[in-house]
Each structure stands twice: as C-alpha cells, then as structure tokens.
C-alpha cells in the first residue's frame, strides 16, 4: 500500500483564498484539482507539500463557454469527460476533444481536470516510483539527486511531458490565465501563450511557479475550414500515458487547399515539440488530390527526422521513433475524417 504523507488540507471557495493559502505555505503548498496526478506523486514523495489546497469548491474555475468571437473559454476545473463530450469543444477544437478523450481511463477522465492535464508533471521510468525504489537506485535530477539515469552525465532532467491535451492546445494557439497572490510589485495576474508555458527542464517544465493557479484556458475561434486530430501511441487502449502523441491542425479554404498546418508532438522530451519543418510541407496541398499524398509522404519523413524519443518511458525509444511518421499520418487522417 502507498500512503499519503501528512499535510494540512484547505478547502477554499474562492480563487483569492486559494492562491493566498498556497502563498502562505512558502513554497510548500500545492493546488489539488482532480488528484489523478498530484496524489500518486505525493504518495511517491517526489512532490512534497505541507499544505494541500483543494480547488473543488471554487465554482469560478468550472465551465465551458463559447465566446462572442466563436472561441472557447474553459474553466480549468472542468472534468476531462466533460471536455471530451462537449459538442462545442468537438466543433470548435476537435483535436482537443479527441486528445482529452484518450487520456488515461474512464475513471481518470471523470476525476481529472483539463487544468490538471495542462499542468501535469513530467514522467520518467526512474521517477514515477516509490521513495524506497528511488532511494535504492540512487536519487536523480528530478528530485534529491545529481545524476540522470537516462542520459549519462546529463545535467538537465529529461522526464517527458506526457499531457495529451498539450499538443492539441498548442495547435489551437490557446492562451492561459494564471493568478498568484498579489504583492507590492503587482496583482499576480498574467496571461501566457500556450507555447510560452513550457521549458525544456523535466524537473519542472513550466515557466510558471507552483504558487500560480491556472484560472482560465482561452481558445481563439477557429476558421470554417478548420480540421484537427489527435493520435496516441500507448501499450494498451486505456489507462496508459502516451508513448507518443501527435496533434495535427489543418485550416483549408473552400477548395480544400491547405492554408495553415501545424503538427505538435508530445512524450518526446520535457516540452511539447512543434515539427514546423514537417507541417510547412502541407501548405498549398489540396485535400484528396495527388499534391496532398506527395506532401504527406514528405511530412512523415520530416517528422521522423525531427523527433528523437528518449529511453525514459516504456517502449523501446527506437521503435517509438519509427512510430512517429505512422502517428503523424494517423493524426492527419483523424483531422480530415
């Protein structure tokens, strides 16, 4: 059995109370949403907290709204199942609905939240283990150690970003509102473009700190010819984190000619990877025409060359690289379908 370490639990009902409670914990406080990531990580003791601030009572953090411009404004506490099944999300942001529908298993999607998946911690075979297991092997860069068990001599943690929602939100050019307790220097609020959220350090792969609460996810309106898809490689058809995840976006004109294309890959490294050289090859191709088939073949090669999975999550990393072109093709097929 894996028991949780002791902590003080707070159950605020407003954003302001929640961020103040975490601020008051001086770096030892954590926000708790659905708990499907934080609770196992606390049990494994690579995240430590004296104060856990449960967000479930904050109604302002819930809900999916269609904006006046035709985009989406999503409360981060909205459950994954509500995102996946939302007709508005399926229509405006199909890649997000598809990606979220593949996250973990049915129970996790009931409990887990979209904000929690955006803020998901990185994963590595050498960290998602009990404290006893990790202490036996020797601690690593992610927590308490100075060595990396994946990259010999590595100085920076390479634990993999494993959130299925991230590549979809990246292709959708989402923006994120964060809020922390106000100080004499400012009101604590800021908005980040989705691409600005991540950095290439698996120990903590976000550019926001743990006392900043994600308060809203904005997705701009997508054009009439918008198509989005997601394809996920995993060992089993359920429960598993991605061994590779590919989100594809195609915006086509009235004739079916691709005006804008974007492909973002997850579970390769500590941050999502945009394969820009690959997706650029699709622009100008026409769906259903020979030009698309030619472009697709070139895109698959280019994506393969740009993606380099590491041997730190299950599945042989060379096999995972071989799967990159296949899953790029599947994500595009899912977008067009």
């Amino acid at each position: 059995m894996l028991r949780l370490p002791q902590f003080t639990l707070e159950r605020p009902t407003t954003i302001e109370e929640a961020i103040q409670l975490v601020a008051d914990a001086n770096g030892r406080g954590r926000f708790l949403a659905g708990g499907t990531d934080l609770i196992p990580n606390l049990k494994h003791e690579f995240i430590e907290a004296d104060v856990v601030v449960a967000l479930g009572g904050i109604e302002a953090l819930r809900g999916i709204e269609v904006t006046a411009e035709g985009g989406l404004s999503i409360g981060p506490l909205t459950s994954l199942v509500d995102i996946a099944e939302s007709a508005d999300v399926q229509r405006i942001a199909p890649a997000l609905a598809q990606a979220v529908g593949t996250i973990a298993g049915p129970q996790h999607r009931q409990m887990g939240t979209i904000g929690g998946n955006v803020m998901l911690d990185t994963r590595c075979q050498w960290i998602n283990q009990s404290h006893f297991w990790r202490s036996s092997l020797g601690f690593c860069l992610k927590k308490d150690g100075s060595a990396c068990h994946v990259v010999e001599g590595g100085k920076r943690c390479v634990a993999a970003a494993s959130n299925d929602s991230a590549p979809a939100l990246a292709t959708l050019a989402a923006t994120l509102d964060f809020q922390k307790a106000p100080t004499e220097y400012g009101n604590g609020k800021r908005t980040l473009a989705f691409d600005e959220l991540f950095k290439a350090d698996g120990a903590w792969n976000k550019k926001v700190s743990a006392d900043e609460l994600l308060t809203r996810i904005h997705i701009p309106a997508t054009p009439v010819g918008h198509k989005g898809g997601y394809a996920k490689l995993r060992m089993r058809g359920s429960i598993d984190f991605p061994l590779l995840g590919v989100a594809a976006r195609l915006d086509v004109d009235g004739e079916g000619v691709i005006e804008h294309a974007d492909i973002v890959v997850i579970a390769l490294q500590a941050r999502p990877l945009r394969v820009r050289k690959a997706s650029a090859l699709l622009v100008g191709a026409k769906l259903g025409a020979a030009s698309y088939d030619d472009a697709l073949a070139a895109v698959m090669v280019a994506a393969y060359e740009q993606c380099h999975p590491l041997p730190n999550i299950p599945g042989d990393h060379e096999w995972r690289q071989e799967m990159v072109p296949i899953y790029v093709k599947r994500a595009l097929a899912a977008a067009i379908a």
């Binding site: 059995m1 894996l2 028991r3 949780l4 370490p5 002791q6 902590f7 003080t8 639990l9 159950r11 708790l32 708990g35 499907t36 609770i39 196992p40 049990k43 494994h44 004296d50 856990v52 449960a54 479930g56 973990a104 298993g105 049915p106 129970q107 996790h108 009931q110 409990m111 058809g237 359920s238 429960i239």
Partner: protein, 195 residues
C-alpha cells in the same frame, strides 16, 4: 506549524447512509472506507490509480477511491460494492443486483480482486445506457484491470445482465455447448441473495 494528524470531521453519504467520520486530512476515501468504516469490499490494489480495483461510484460515476481524499467526498453520494444489492432491493428488485447475479453465473472472476470495481463500472454504465453494445461495454470497463479472466466472461456477464433486463434472448456463451441461459426465466429472482 503543521497540525500533524489532526483529524477532520466529515459528514458523508455512503450507500445512502449518513456517516460521520473523523480521519486525518491525508487519508484517502479508500482508507476511510476500509480502515475506518470496515467496508472492505472496495479493494486496495496499486494505490496509485493504475488498476481500478478501488473503483466506487461517486454521484453515480465510477471514480478511484485511492486518489480521492476522504474529505473531498463530502457532499457527494458514494456507493460501494456493499451498497449495490441494497440499492437494487430498494428500487423494488429481488435478489442480487442483476450485474452481480450475472457475474456469479458466468463465472466472471477467478481471484475476485477486480470484481467489485468491475461490477460498479458495469452498473454505472447500465444506469446511463441500459443497452450498450460490446464496444461500449469494453470501453466502460477499460479502467478496471483483471489479471485472471482474460475479460471474456466479464463482458459476457454484462451482456447477460442486459439481455435479461430487456427480455432479449441471452447469447450462448463461448465456453458452453448448449445455451445455459435459454430455458431460464428471471434467474436473478430465483437465484436470490443466497448464491
């Protein structure tokens, strides 16, 4: 600083019983159920959300009690495997819940460790959709791991429960020469709770 192990008082709804309990803040709902309330039908498997053995219904939806703080179950309706038959009887049924009865008759278990969670996931599915197809059944049970049965009889059990509840002819199971369900009527009543 840290109020170590200070218990918090909770008022919960568990199997339609109002329950007062006092547990430390870091206890999960699973720990409350098993070690404070003695409801050991909910199984403690991986304890980190991989296996589904600890599945309970929260407001009718299958969730993992090993990943929910006991305190966060306040204000919600929790149903465990112990509540399945009473809920069936309360709704006017006889004997076991049809899902339990079908699992019994199909031998949809070997060690039985996954069974509580399996049956609760199946019950939640049938409450929402009384006639799911095989794909929908498999999807609904995909968060519950079974290491013994290979899932065949589990899916057949759910299909048997569906067939009997809709009055349809149950399909002959793959492991039987004849159709053992063919001549039987309202087995769930006959079999009763004594099976």
């Amino acid at each position: 600083m840290l109020a170590m192990s200070t218990p918090i008082s909770l008022e919960l709804s568990i199997n339609d019983d109002r329950v007062r309990a006092s547990v430390p803040a870091h206890w999960t709902l699973l720990e409350l159920l098993r070690y404070e309330l003695g409801l050991t039908g909910t199984k403690q498997g991986c304890d980190k959300g991989d296996c589904g053995a600890c599945t309970v219904l929260i407001d009718g939806k299958p969730q993992l009690s090993c990943l929910i703080l006991a305190a966060n179950a306040e204000g919600k309706k929790v149903q465990t495997i112990e509540g399945l038959q009473p809920a069936h009887r309360k709704a006017g049924g006889v004997g076991l819940d049809p899902v339990q009865d079908a699992f019994d008759r199909c031998g949809a278990l070997q060690c039985g460790f996954c069974q509580s969670g399996m049956m609760l996931s199946a019950r939640a599915l049938l409450n929402e959709n009384p006639t799911p197809d095989r794909t929908e059944i498999r999807q609904a049970l995909s968060g519950n791991l079974c290491r013994c049965t290979g899932y065949t009889q589990i899916v057949q059990a759910v299909e048997l429960a569906i067939a009997e509840s809709t009055g349809a002819e149950p399909e002959s199971p793959s492991w039987s020469d004849g159709n053992p369900w063919k001549s039987t009527t309202s087995l769930s009543g006959k079999n009763g709770g004594d099976a």
